[in-house]
Symmetry: C2
Subunit: 714 residues, 2 copies
């Protein structure tokens, strides 16, 4: 449990990787990796409060939505057994951090993506694009990923083993605290980890009592473990004498390990490339064409759904930290002027969110406040309407697919978590047995991304729009006599001209006086002569004039909601998993019908040929309606067949019995209540269609169709 609150930051698949802490000593506009490379000492920075102590996330407190204790090993065992997912290349021994999705996991993911596309892309006429995963080096150099998208690792030079530095420091220090507790005869918490998991590298060490002061110091280090730079981690390793836990061998100091998978494009090795670590860059690069496609209308959003890749040093935590994962990202482009209003904000302003703002976090607490998003924007807590609009829409999406409303919160990034260019950033966190997990990031990234790519390539990633009122600008203009200018400066002409072009308004005003007084000006032109250049008044005039601007040109700001679909899928499974009192061995996954992998189980009483035509009719009819079915005509009892499919989350079941053969009626069973109704073919398929498309709930169907009182045949 302890180590996992770090997931709040690490391996975030969203904006937050690029909106971590500002590096004060480095030039503006950089990308930050999953772990930030802060160059200022930790004590000079704000600290994210120690969310490890956040009682709400303790696994022992996790309950199912039925209020019973939640048991992660049972859920994980169910998910693997029923092929929601499985380790990839299992028969070859597997590769950590790579998972395949089997039929129910694949269908569940597809259905969630489908809801996402309808909820966001279709509803808001977003421009969905599909960009390549292969990305040449230069693009990711510009975005900052080549230099900064890294974790710290240290190597044992003797054994060749590699450790992720922060994980290692944390595990060793945690083990020492535990040893200390034992030595003092205090109660040590039982190991909460899944017993089936691989053992930690650090075994429980001998019970050694530590000084009170040292204990406090170590606790403080652990509280800040996410915030250390590589150098600081190296210092901690020296200070606390941290070595290879298995061999006690010395380790080399931490070095940065870039998390992108590298490859080479084309037959020669002169075009290095990477697998994209996010889908965003492709959207930024196509901005100009998308704006054109949108007939120059602002604001608009692009969207992309696709796989991204991160070469984790040592993946753990199952589906939450993987090397290949599905993302859905939106880039909403908005005019930075005019307060970033959103035309549909009114529709969501009364939506209530659980907000954990940065002031509360600064005070070391994690108290959320239920706030209407309209209010939050009004008070300035959420920076602007567009950001607020998306926070509300994100919550609506999560609720639509079945996420437990009580297990959602929106956490604001601390000032020190965000890049300096970001205006505001909130994460939608979902409560799981691993703690509060960032599943959606929503950042206002200002004009950063478009600006860096424009600067690098010269492509006009800007909006040009006619001004309603022409803008009059009073300014000092420099006019050159080009005929004389060229011959005088010869090869330096262009450089001198550029230096004049770059003069500030203030300087131009001052120089105009020089020109009048002295008949010449002297300006700095590095690289030409001694760096000072004299321009006589025959070659230049400087005058104040009024310029009329009819066109406004600006770089749009970007609001970026970024979804980790795999994490949402996993969190959803935790949220809707439960067991019946009478059958605790069998789990139930109560997916809403819209996202359930299979919608209907068809159960003939037996495999008798009399039932076969009914199976065929039902499944054909439902397939025509686009509703997925599964038939189980195995010899198992009907009750067993139903409970097997409860594990797959199949919301509805149809039984075909002898009565069906006589009068063409069938029973329809609801997974969650196990209630059944009985009716004719058209009524049954009609009810199913209503339920699957969300037009009716089971209670509606149960109220209008005759209840079936016959017992499930066990």
């Amino acid at each position: 449990m302890r180590q996992l609150s770090r997931l709040l930051h690490a391996n975030c698949f969203s904006s937050s990787l690029r909106t971590c802490r500002p590096v004060f000593s480095t030039p503006p506009c950089r990308v930050y990796p999953t772990k930030c490379f802060a160059t200022t000492p930790a004590h000079q920075r704000y600290q994210v409060p120690n969310r490890k102590k956040d009682q709400a996330v303790m696994a022992g407190d996790m309950t199912t939505f039925k209020g019973k204790p939640f048991d992660r090993p049972s859920l994980e065992s169910l998910m693997k057994r029923r092929l929601f997912y499985t380790p990839a290349f299992d028969i070859y021994g597997g590769v950590s951090g790579l998972y395949d999705f089997g039929p129910p996991g694949c269908a569940l993911t597809n259905n969630i993506v489908d809801v996402w596309r309808k909820h966001f892309v279709l509803k808001e006429n977003m421009l969905e694009v599909d960009c390549t995963m292969l990305t040449p080096h230069e693009v990711l150099k510009t975005s900052g990923h080549v230099d900064k998208f890294a974790d710290w690792m240290c190597k044992d030079p003797k054994t060749g083993e590699i450790f992720r530095a922060d994980h290692l420091v944390e595990e060793v220090l945690e083990a020492r605290l535990k040893g200390n507790k034992e030595a003092r005869g205090e109660k040590v918490e039982a190991e909460e980890d899944d017993p089936k998991k691989k053992k930690k590298k650090v075994k429980n060490i001998a019970a050694v009592k530590l000084d009170d002061a040292l204990v406090q110091e170590i606790e403080e280090v652990l509280a800040k473990i996410d915030n250390y730079s590589g150098e600081e981690l190296g210092q901690l390793m020296k200070k606390y004498d941290i070595k290879n836990p298995a061999t006690n061998g010395e380790l080399l100091p931490p070095v940065a390990f870039n998390l992108m998978f590298q490859t080479s494009i084309g037959p020669s090795s002169n075009m290095p490339g990477y697998l994209r670590p996010e889908t965003a860059q492709g959207q930024f690069l196509n901005f100009q064409k998308l704006l054109e496609f949108n007939q120059q209308q602002m604001p608009f959003a692009s969207a992309s759904i696709g796989k991204s890749f991160r070469n984790e040093i040592s993946p753990r935590s199952g589906l939450l930290r993987v090397r290949e994962f599905l993302m859905a990202e939106i880039e909403h482009f908005v005019d930075p002027e005019g307060g970033k209003k959103h035309p549909r904000f009114d529709e969501v302003k009364d939506v209530e969110l659980e907000l954990l703002n940065r002031e509360v976090q600064l005070s070391g607490k994690t108290t959320v406040e239920t706030t209407k998003i309209g209010k939050a924007v009004e008070t300035g807590l959420v920076d602007n309407e567009t950001l607020g609009y998306f926070l509300a829409r994100i919550q609506q999406f999560l609720l639509k697919i079945g996420i437990d409303a009580k297990k959602i919160r929106f956490r604001q990034h601390m000032a020190n978590e965000m890049a300096h260019y970001a205006a505001d950033c909130w994460d939608a966190e979902l409560l799981t047995s691993y703690g509060w997990i960032e599943c959606v990031g929503c950042a206002d990234r200002s004009a950063y991304d478009l600006t860096v790519h424009m600067k690098k390539t010269g492509a006009p990633l800007v909006v040009r729009e006619p001004r309603k009122e022409p803008l009059k600008v009073e300014e000092w203009q420099c006019d050159l006599d080009k005929k004389k200018f060229g011959p005088k400066f010869k090869k330096d002409g262009k450089t001198v001209e550029a230096a004049i072009e770059a003069l500030s308004q203030d300087l131009r005003e001052k120089l105009s006086l020089d020109l009048e007084k002295e008949g010449k000006i002297v300006i700095d032109v590095p690289g030409v002569g001694d760096g000072k250049v004299e321009v006589p008044k025959e070659l230049i005039s400087i005058e104040k004039r009024t310029r009329v601007e009819n066109v406004r040109e600006y770089t749009p700001n970007v609001i970026e909601p970024s979804f980790g679909i795999g994490r949402i899928v996993y969190a959803l499974c935790e949220h809707i998993y439960w067991t019946r009192e009478q059958d605790e061995a069998r789990g139930i996954l109560s997916f809403p019908p819209t996202v359930a992998p299979t919608k209907v189980l068809i159960v003939p009483l037996s495999s008798h040929t009399d039932f076969k035509p009914f199976v065929r009719t039902l499944s054909d009819k439902l397939q025509e309606l686009g509703i997925s079915t599964r038939t189980d005509d195995s010899g198992a009892s009907i009750g067993k067949r139903y409970s097997r499919n409860d594990e797959l989350g199949t919301p509805l079941g149809i039984t075909i019995d002898f009565q069906s053969v006589k009068d063409n009626t069938f029973t329809l069973r609801d997974r969650d209540s196990t209630e059944q109704v009985r009716a004719g073919l058209d009524e049954i398929t009609g009810a199913i269609s209503s339920l699957v498309n969300g037009r009716e709930k089971w209670s509606d169907v149960a109220a209008r169709l005759p209840k079936f009182e016959g017992q499930e045949v066990d």
Copy 2:
């Protein structure tokens, strides 16, 4: 035109890459690359007939479905201008072979994938899986890709330039033929390539007359250009003195260039991996779990939709040969015994296909024969029912998404194109301006894939099923006296035992006589002593007994339909592109409503506020029905707005005019006929829903709703 019929083979994304020509001198069960590494001289092998001479594929003969000449440059310009696709990383100069899909291309692809999923996965209860693209070395070593998935390239050691060997030979020889024609004063065909394309590496060379015999020789070489091995290509380069066309520099001999993108998984460099070149391997590796998921029932199919990657040496031909592409693959697992029947074959047996069988091709022709698939299976032309079933289903799918029935043919692989293990293989080829392009492969791959992975890993990738009748097997069994056996052979005991275990039935029978006669047997055990081992009768007995087998164990065969979605998308666009007689400058893409990127264009007469609520009501109502809309309230004329959307293939348009404000009626326009009807809100949206879901055609709607005779406002 000439060089492109090669696409029929090269860069095939499907099974055929693994079912090319058998390599007679190498061990069984290998994978063949896009270009086959045949080790036998070309003249010893059958030749695929020279499809370059196939008149039907000449670009000049290509017509739109309206019977007018097809103009590829216009279509490609439309597709790029309207952002169906665009070169990836364009503002960074682009990377050849990588394309991004913009909003209409992305929506079109998604809709086609959606139809595919309903047509195959949902309809047949296939087990869809989503496996990782990152694949460790060992898996692709076993499958054969590491050793054999390559093209031939040659390098200019001075300039560092790299050429794909077969392309180079072809281009140089073609240029010489052209020069010869010029020298003889014959008419030279105009350059058919897109003028906007990059120029070929080989510029037109001087007009030099060649001997008649040489011309014929070169023509023969060109006809076989797909079939040469690297060594042969090297010989051709020597024979015809082919050098770097730009510098006339000597080139190094062709070497194999593996087409997989390589990377490294994890922080140490000891786990090399690749991006998958196809989605099939993940399905094979999970076979055992999928069978379990399917409750051990056979036959069943898995399916997968996802990106694959091939590092082409020099990609060309636009969307037809790219480095990252979307595939949809099915692996249908079937019992090899009992003729590979398919339970639903009856449903398709009367479907007529245009078959180009291998006998016809052997005779050097490309005449297709219209044949009912039932008949083709009956006569043995198509190997079995399951293969035949999928051929019919593939055609049904292609027609459903709008492919022109007259531009589909199924070409059977020649014996020398298939791997020896393949039972039969057919490609669905679509006629495009690049020639007949392989878009779907459908191969019976026998038990090859499961067998190699089982052999490598030991995982039981087999089906075990109880026999209805226990099988009685008469066989010679060897019994060893283990107590005496160990002490006698000591460390060699296991090896000798294994050698005995491996003895054939015939040999056992013969040895039983030896044992009786001579009181001992002598067997070959390589590596023990001198390779001959004597076993006396005290240690062994050999007897004929009857064994009863209750369980049957077999490795299923695989029928693999494999779809290149990107190629299908491109071919579709060619098939449904046309222009109106009165407006040839504007193209129209007549997508069926089901796959059209946007279904409805909403056109208010102007941007007047009176119209806004109607726009909102209509778009909200249609979005609720899951129907994508686009509103154009620009100042352009209604006619212009419609024709802009004809380019995007939007099948339906709603006009909101002053009449609408008065009586809440709207006009609905059909893209293809430009006919309009007028009716109230519910009738209009109802008609749209019927059209989009394929329940009605425009003629039905036009017949029941009042025609609108008002002219389009231009």
